[in-house]
Structures are given as structure tokens and as C-alpha cells.
């Protein structure tokens, strides 16, 4: 069961972990050591976060039974917009989900909520996953056109390791919101067959902010069931099938005027994997997948609203990919084709106070079809022992169509000449040079990427944004957003000390953002106005992070992480939701099966904020966390006991990414037990 996050910031550590993962955990023992090493070269371009499982030796560095968001937060590239206690929206390099590609095992999934209350990460559980690969900028374009990068969440599976039956049960409690967590997993693995099944249940009441005030509508309940199974008929060919069923009910969003009574996802796939006999080809995998999401947003729990409304949404995606990996002399390459079709539909029904009156109905996502088909190729070229080059290029065709005449006519109110469909071509390309010498690793990268507007940006109809209190109207006439990026990193690593600095600069032309139109009348009651998505000539983002780690006195590890980002538009005005200087420092102690960690997280006052977007200055804060864990072995069975406290001094605070400044949880004492057999 998921217990660990890698410290994640250090390339060599990551490489080592990939080897551990590859060889020990994921049964890829059929790959020889050389392949693993080559694989690690590829992955130095990305960051891998180990979500781990009960069998993982390095389990105890993270809060047990944490959410997927907690794990991903370990990456300096990732942060989350929080609208409550549940379903945080990932930011990659300071950019929200329109500009990134989040996939589960390469599968594209589109959220069904017009208010971004259901990012893809909300439809999985840590028990479903083994690791997350985070790739910044154009290094993350393999699974689709992106600006900010990609997060690929990899499914956990036993593989063909002949370990027989294994299982685990786990339970946890958290004080701040009376969260109860129960989970169980069962695995069977032989040389030709494996199957993993797991279930997870979480139930939380409202949490208390620092100081003790209850944050209303922050409760949630979530069930997740998943299964993955594989059958291998010879050493070189096997088939895997995977399903995830995730259902959240009664989810409160304290930062929003509405809650979610149901968010349900079914995610299924079948994959065929073959290890070609040709020496030059190392792996070929082909997958078909389907997922369907139903998301019911309503305000039935809220006592006082200007008008009652229901906002259900549906999203269905069918897709495929085929990925081929190979080597040639000093080249390590991969090539893939992928295609998917998504249908997004969302409605809004408002119920007038006068029951005699007809309901007010509109399509907020007018039955939008998105067809994407692309090819992607990447090559890693070991020029010399010290110098490695990476080059990638992808092309895609992106086709939007409105399948509902009601929806088309609605948008034609704003865009009289609008056609029902639009086709775009998208190009993504990246390159990186990496130089390694002695303790040092340096890299320099360039990238160019394009993306199409999201469903909301292109076709949204009166979508209320509670942050700036504007109704947003999509704009189907926008051109592609284009990003030019340059990134560099430097790292040093010796026996006891490591440090790494990453910087990336994005110049984004035709930057898509909502701009107020005072001539338009807002639909929602008592709000500031209407914004229509437009394109700025350009905007610029600068993302920086520094990580340091020092080991001393045999068992102690001091680490620190600092993140700073800056985002400006063409008038040098601040972009919204940009992270101020945030520093995390920690001290860890490990001895045998005992582990302790103390962590301090601090952020400066937010100097760069965007009043136009409804932001105000977020004050500085500092919080303290403490975690202890002890592992017991009883014969071959293992028990991990963890206790800890977050926000130890019960600070009342919110971060720059807390929607409408909703207060973060106060002191949270947690305990969990994992029992594995």
C-alpha cells in the first residue's frame, strides 16, 4: 500500500529508484540491466514520484494513506488549486489543467465538470497507482499537445513475478476532519498470470481551519475499486486489462457556491505488449481504452442561494495508442501514434422561485466533440559518455464539433458566423542537451508547443467563476496558443550532499485568458460581469526551484526545497495563481525500522497577484509537520504504524492557490496501520 514519496528532486536518486522500481517492484526483470540503465536516461528528463505499495521497502517517508495530491506535491513542478478538501486541480509549472496533459497509463480522460471540480487526479486512488511521471514543458508532449507539461499516472500491478498470493489491509484516521480510511488489496502473481484487486474508502466530515473554525461544506466520501490483470502466453507477448471504478458522493466545495452530489468514473483499458525479437526494438505496446464520467453539481445542501440550480456534466472518451521503443547504436528512441475522441456535455437548470414559471435551461458545454489524432517521436542520443541529446517532435490533428443544434444556436448568439466544427493542426517539439561530469549534471533545453483551447475556453456558455465572480463565455474563434520555452538545470551530487536547480522560461503567444466585457450582462445573480476568452499577444512565465539534501551522522538527512514563479502578461501585469516564494525544510532521521521527520513549510507574502482575476494578497505563513513511523515484522507479515501531525501549531492560513482564500486545515493528527501479508 502506498507509503512513500521519493525525495524526487535529485536526478541520481531518481535513477536509482527507477532501477529499484524496474527490477524489484514491477517485475520487469525480463529487461536486462542495460535496458534499465537506458530507461533511466529517458527518465532523467522527467521526474518520477513513487506512489509505492506495501511491498515497497521505502514506504515510510510519507504520510500513510495520503491522497494522490499529497504525493504529487512532493514535486517542485506541481502544486494544486484547492477548492475544498477534495479533488484539487493540479498546476504543472504554475499552469492549470488547460495547459497540461494528465493521463493514467497514457489514457486521456476529460473531466466532466465545467468548474474544474473533477481533475483526472480525483478519479484515482493511491492504491491504483505505482508512480507518477512528471515531465515539464515539451518533454511531456508524448500523450498530447501541451504547454506546461504532462503528468502520467502509472497503474500499479504485480507483474509476472511468481510471488503467489499477497495482500494488505490498511486503515487510517485523521483528526481534522474525522476522516476514516479503509482499504484492502489482494494480489496474485505467477509466471504467466497476475491479478491485482484493491478497494479504498474514505469518509470525511467538515474540516476545521487553524483556530478551530469549522469550514462548512468540506466533507466528502469516496469509494474506489480497481482491478488489473495480465496474461502472458510467451516470454515476449502478454495482454493486460485494467478497470477503475471511482465514485465520490456528497463532496463539499467550501470555496464554491455549489457542491457535488455524485462524481463517478469508469476507466477501462486493454493493452497488448510485445517485446519484439528484433534487437533494435525493445518494446511495443498498444492500448485501447474507454472512460466515462458523470458529474452532478448541485446546491441542495446550501441554505441560502440566489437561485437553485443543477449543473450535471458528462464526459466520455474512447481512445488508443501504440508505442514502440527501440535502440540503434547510441540512440534510444520511441515512436507512438495516439488518437482519442471525447464528448463533453454539461447542462444548467435553474429553478425560479415562482413555481409557476418554467425552469431555465441552458447547455453550458454544448455537446462538444473533440477528436485528436497525433504522432510523436523521441530520440535520446548518447553523443559522448558525458553528453546526451534528446529530441522530440509531435504532430496532431485536433477537430472540434458541436453535436447539438441547441448548443450551436446558443453560441451563435455570440458568434453569429460560427461554424459547427473547427479543425486545427498542432505541433510540439522539444530538445535537451545533458552534460554530466564528476559530481555535476547540467542540462539546457528548448521547446516549442501548441495547444488548442479547452472545451470551456472554446465553447463554454455562461460558466460562473467564483474566484473573480464573472460569467465566462467561450470563444470558438481563437487560434492555437503557442509556447516557446527555454529551460536549464544544474545539479551536484556526491556521497552526502546533493543540490539541484531548475529554471524554465515560457513565452506563450496568443495566451488564452478571460477578459471582461462590460457591455455583456452577467447571467448569474449579483456578480461582477461577463468575461469572454480572448488571446493576449503573449504572456510569460518563469518557474524556478531549488532542492538541497544533506546526509549526516549516519541516519540524519536535512533537506530543503524552494520554489518561486513569476507570471506576467504583455502589459507586465501579473497573471493569476502564481506561486510566491515557498520554502520547505525538513529533517529526517532513520534508524533500522524507525523513521521520524520534521518539516517546516513557509511562504512569503504574495507580492505578485492579479486583482483583475479577483486575487488579493495572500499573507505569509509558516506551518510545522511531524511524522513518526515504525515497522514491525512478524514472520513474513509486516505491519507499519504511523502517527503524525500536520500544521502542528494550528496556524490559520491559506495559500495563493486556495480558491477564494478558503482556510487550510488546522492541526491534524493522524494515525494509520498497514498490515501486509
Amino acid at each position: 500500500m502506498g507509503l512513500e514519496v521519493s525525495s524526487g528532486n535529485f536526478k541520481n536518486l531518481i535513477m536509482k529508484q527507477i532501477q529499484i522500481l524496474g527490477v524489484i517492484l514491477f517485475g520487469l526483470s525480463s529487461l536486462n540491466a542495460q535496458e534499465v540503465a537506458k530507461d533511466s536516461i529517458v527518465h532523467t528528463l522527467s521526474e518520477v514520484i513513487v506512489v509505492g505499495n506495501a511491498a515497497n521497502k521505502h514506504h515510510n517517508e510519507n504520510k500513510s494513506l495520503a491522497t494522490i495530491e499529497d504525493y504529487l506535491s512532493a514535486s517542485p513542478s506541481i502544486d494544486f488549486i484547492k477548492r475544498g478538501a477534495y479533488a484539487w486541480e493540479p498546476l504543472v509549472q504554475g499552469m492549470a489543467t488547460e495547459r497540461s496533459v494528465v493521463t493514467i497509463d497514457g489514457m486521456r480522460i476529460y473531466g466532466a465538470c465545467t468548474d474544474k471540480m473533477d481533475p483526472i487526479t480525483s478519479y484515482v486512488e493511491i492504491s491504483n497507482l505505482s508512480k507518477a511521471t512528471i515531465s515539464n514543458g515539451q518533454q511531456g508532449a508524448e500523450n498530447g499537445a501541451t504547454i506546461a507539461g504532462g503528468i502520467d499516472l502509472e497503474r500499479r500491478k504485480s507483474g509476472f513475478r511468481n510471488t503467489g498470493w499477497k495482500g494488505s489491509v490498511q486503515t487510517g484516521l485523521e483528526s481534522v476532519n474525522e476522516q476514516k480510511i479503509v482499504g484492502a488489496a489482494l494480489q496474485y502473481s505467477s509466471n504467466t498470470f497476475f491479478s491485482d484487486v484493491d478497494v479504498m474508502y474514505r469518509n470525511a466530515e467538515n474540516y476545521s481551519a487553524g483556530g478551530g473554525e469549522e469550514v462548512m461544506y468540506s466533507q466528502f466520501t469516496k469509494y474506489n475499486v480497481s482491478a488489473i490483470t495480465g496474461y502472458k502466453w510467451n516470454d515476449r507477448q502478454w495482454l493486460e486489462a485494467s478497470v477503475i471504478y471511482d465514485e465520490a458522493r456528497d463532496v463539499g466545495y467550501p470555496a464554491l457556491p455549489m457542491d457535488v452530489s455524485l462524481a463517478r468514473a469508469f476507466i477501462g483499458s486493454v493493452e497488448y505488449i510485445t517485446l519484439p525479437e528484433s534487437e533494435k526494438l525493445t518494446e511495443w505496446k498498444t492500448k485501447v481504452y474507454y472512460n466515462t464520467i458523470k458529474h452532478i453539481m448541485d446546491d441542495t445542501q446550501r441554505p441560502d442561494v440566489p437561485i437553485r440550480m443543477d449543473m450535471p456534466g458528462w464526459s466520455k472518451t474512447v481512445g488508443m495508442y501504440s508505442k514502440l521503443k527501440g535502440t540503434h547504436n547510441k540512440h534510444l528512441w520511441n515512436f507512438s501514434v495516439n488518437a482519442h475522441y471525447n464528448n463533453s456535455l454539461a447542462e444548467m437548470t435553474m429553478f425560479p422561485e415562482n413555481p409557476e414559471e418554467n425552469d431555465m435551461f441552458m447547455l453550458t458545454w454544448p455537446d462538444v466533440g473533440t477528436l485528436y489524432a497525433g504522432v510523436f517521436g523521441e530520440d535520446n542520443y548518447v553523443i559522448t559518455e558525458r553528453l546526451t541529446a534528446n529530441f522530440s517532435i509531435g504532430f496532431g490533428i485536433h477537430h472540434n464539433s458541436i453535436n447539438d443544434i441547441f448548443g450551436l444556436q446558443s453560441l451563435q448568439i455570440f458568434y453569429t458566423e460560427m461554424e459547427e466544427s473547427k479543425t486545427r493542426f498542432l505541433i510540439n517539439s522539444g530538445s535537451k542537451l545533458t552534460y554530466q561530469k564528476d559530481f555535476w549534471t547540467h542540462s539546457l533545453g528548448l521547446g516549442y508547443g501548441e495547444r488548442a483551447p479547452s472545451v470551456s475556453e472554446g465553447y463554454g456558455f455562461y460558466l460562473f467563476n467564483s474566484f473573480d465572480a464573472f460569467d465566462y463565455i467561450g470563444n470558438p474563434e481563437m487560434v492555437n496558443e503557442k509556447s516557446m520555452e527555454i529551460n536549464a538545470s544544474s545539479g551536484i551530487k556526491n556521497k552526502n550532499f546533493s543540490a539541484r536547480f531548475n529554471t524554465a522560461f515560457y513565452h506563450i503567444a496568443d495566451y488564452i485568458i478571460g477578459k471582461p466585457h462590460p457591455d455583456l450582462s452577467p447571467m448569474n445573480i449579483g456578480i461582477n460581469g461577463v468575461k469572454v476568452y480572448e488571446q493576449l499577444p503573449y504572456a510569460q512565465l518563469w518557474s524556478n526551484d531549488l532542492s538541497v539534501s544533506y546526509q549526516f551522522l549516519n541516519g540524519f538527512n536535512a533537506k530543503a526545497k524552494a520554489i518561486y514563479r513569476l507570471g506576467r502578461d504583455h502589459n507586465n501585469e501579473n497573471l493569476p495563481l502564481i506561486q510566491p516564494l515557498t520554502v520547505e525544510t525538513g529533517l529526517r532521521y532513520r534508524k533500522n525500522l524507525f523513521y521520524a521527520e520534521a518539516l517546516v513549510e513557509t511562504a512569503t507574502k504574495q507580492y505578485d497577484f492579479s486583482p483583475e482575476f479577483g486575487e488579493n494578497q495572500t499573507p505569509a505563513y509558516t506551518i510545522f509537520n511531524l511524522a513518526l513511523s515504525q515497522t514491525f515484522y512478524i514472520n513474513k507479515q509486516k505491519m507499519v504504524l504511523k502517527v503524525g501531525a500536520e500544521n502542528l501549531f494550528n496556524e490559520n492560513y491559506s495559500t495563493y492557490a486556495d480558491w477564494n482564500n478558503i482556510a487550510r486545515p488546522g492541526r491534524n493528527v493522524y494515525a494509520s496501520v498497514v498490515y501486509a501479508f
Partner: protein, 278 residues
């Protein structure tokens, strides 16, 4: 099965070719399929079958169709005029109405419109009289008709700032959509108790609002202007279903406001308006 279809088509083709060969109007043709009979009005000689789309006379604008039947045969060559009269307790008056013409591309139908600006009640009622001439012979027929009050406002009667009494009636959309709808209205003035001609070169400003939803408006509406010296046409944007109040302002040819107020933060509605609910 295919053979059957073929013969069916053949049969239909034969049927149609027969009817078009016939010079007399075949009383089996049905040109009122999409219409509903309001009532049959009879005199000694003829029956006038009066139709509207929904089978009712409504307060406000009514598109009216009728057929004249002599026994079993339709009469297609009558010269018809009509006169709607409101019999009030103390006086009588008419209302805006069109001339009558034969409906194009039909064999049997006559058409015209009437704008009833007030409903009937127990003491006051509308009477509709048709005067027509067939082959030089004059006929008349008249009948009291029922015009009930309506729950949605489709007609406004008011005194303009120029001391002229106006009648403004909603004609289209009859089937409103969440879309940019074509909007049509009739703007008439009361010349005297019996004459209500269309006024020329005025402007009817519209501002659609949803009072139940913060009184918000919609974009890209086009004020109504007169076309071809007759009715007024514009564009009406409705961004969602539900109850819409179409606030109006009537401007004369010199762009002076004769009636109606602009909607502002302090003024939620105009004194003249239409109501649409769908």
C-alpha cells in the same frame, strides 16, 4: 415489400395527377393540416371555417385563415373584407387588422391578421363580420367570438408622449428557441375608433430580461425596424429557456421616445413589454 412500396408510390402519383387534372376544387384536398379550426360561421348560403394555428383567438396578434364553402365545394374567388368590433358597455371600437388575401400556393385558404388589444368578458365581446362578394353577389356573415385574457403579455396599448394612442403587438417568435430569434411586431396607431393603421419609420427598441435570474439581459439583440411599409422586424437573443420579459421603448421617426423606459440598476422594467416563456 419493395413491390408494395412501388405500388403505393404509383398509387399516390396517380392520385396527385388526377387531382391536378381536375379544374374544380376537389373538396378532398386538405390544406388545413397544420391548422386548427376555431369555429364555423354560417349564413344561409355559405359556411366560413375559421382557423388559427392553435384553434384559439388570443389577446394580441392572431394570424387567421379561413375557407368559404358553398355546400361541399370551396369558393376560391370571393372578394372578402372583414371587420372586428369590440362591443363595450358604453361604446364600440375596432382594432388593428390586415386586408384579406388568398394564401399563396393554396387552393382554398384566405388569410389575414387581427390584433385584439383587449379581451372579451361577460359584458363586453368581440364580433367578427365578414363581407364578401362572389360573382357580383354580396354576402355577409358575422359571429360573436371569444377572446380570453392571456397570462403572457403579447400586446401593449398606451398613450404616447405625442398624445397618440398606440398598439404594439408581438408577432414572432411563435416558437422561441435558445438562439438568435427573428422577431416581428406590429406597431399601430389609433386614428379613430375604427381605424388602426401601421405607423411608418418608427423604431421599437427591445431589451430582453430574465426577472427571475437577476434581471440579466442577452447580447446581440437588434431593435425592430419597419420593412416594406408594414411590420417591424429585428433580432431577439434568448440565452436560456424560461420566462423572458422583453422590455420595449417606442421611438418615432425622429428618434424621440414616445413610451417605455430604459432598464437601469434602479429601473427593472419598462412600462411597455412583451412576455415570452418557453
Amino acid at each position: 415489400m419493395k413491390l408494395f412500396k412501388f405500388f403505393s408510390l404509383l398509387a399516390i402519383a396517380l392520385l396527385f395527377s388526377c387531382s391536378s387534372d381536375d379544374d374544380n376544387i376537389d373538396n378532398s384536398i386538405n390544406e388545413t393540416e397544420d391548422l386548427t379550426l376555431v369555429k364555423n360561421i354560417e349564413n344561409n348560403q355559405h359556411t366560413l371555417s375559421v382557423f388559427t394555428e392553435n384553434g384559439l383567438f388570443q389577446l394580441g396578434y392572431n394570424k387567421i385563415y379561413f375557407q368559404i364553402k358553398d355546400g361541399e365545394n370551396f369558393v376560391d374567388n370571393a372578394q372578402v373584407s372583414w371587420k372586428p368590433i369590440m362591443h363595450m358597455t358604453d361604446m364600440s371600437h375596432s382594432c388593428p387588422y390586415s386586408i384579406i388575401s388568398r394564401k399563396p400556393n393554396t387552393e382554398t385558404l384566405y388569410e389575414g391578421y387581427i390584433v385584439f388589444q383587449m379581451p372579451g368578458n361577460d359584458l363586453e365581446h368581440w364580433e367578427l363580420t365578414f363581407n364578401y362578394t362572389i360573382n357580383g353577389e354580396d354576402f355577409t356573415v358575422s359571429e360573436n367570438i371569444s377572446v380570453p385574457p392571456s397570462d403572457k403579455k403579447r400586446v401593449n396599448v398606451f398613450m404616447g408622449s405625442d398624445d397618440v394612442r398606440y398598439i404594439v403587438a408581438l408577432i414572432e417568435p411563435t416558437d422561441p428557441q435558445v438562439a438568435v430569434n427573428d422577431m416581428t411586431a406590429g406597431v399601430f396607431k389609433m386614428e379613430n375608433m375604427m381605424n388602426f393603421p401601421v405607423v411608418d419609420n418608427y423604431t421599437l427598441k427591445i431589451d430582453p430580461r430574465m426577472p427571475s435570474m437577476g434581471n440579466h439581459s442577452s447580447p446581440n439583440n437588434v431593435n425592430l425596424m419597419q420593412e416594406a411599409q408594414d411590420l417591424y422586424h429585428g433580432k431577439l437573443s434568448l440565452t436560456m429557456t424560461g420566462y423572458w420579459k422583453i422590455n420595449l421603448q417606442l421611438l418615432n421617426a425622429q428618434n424621440e421616445v414616445l413610451k417605455g423606459e430604459e432598464i437601469t440598476d434602479t429601473n427593472e422594467a419598462s412600462s411597455i413589454f412583451f412576455e415570452i416563456e418557453f
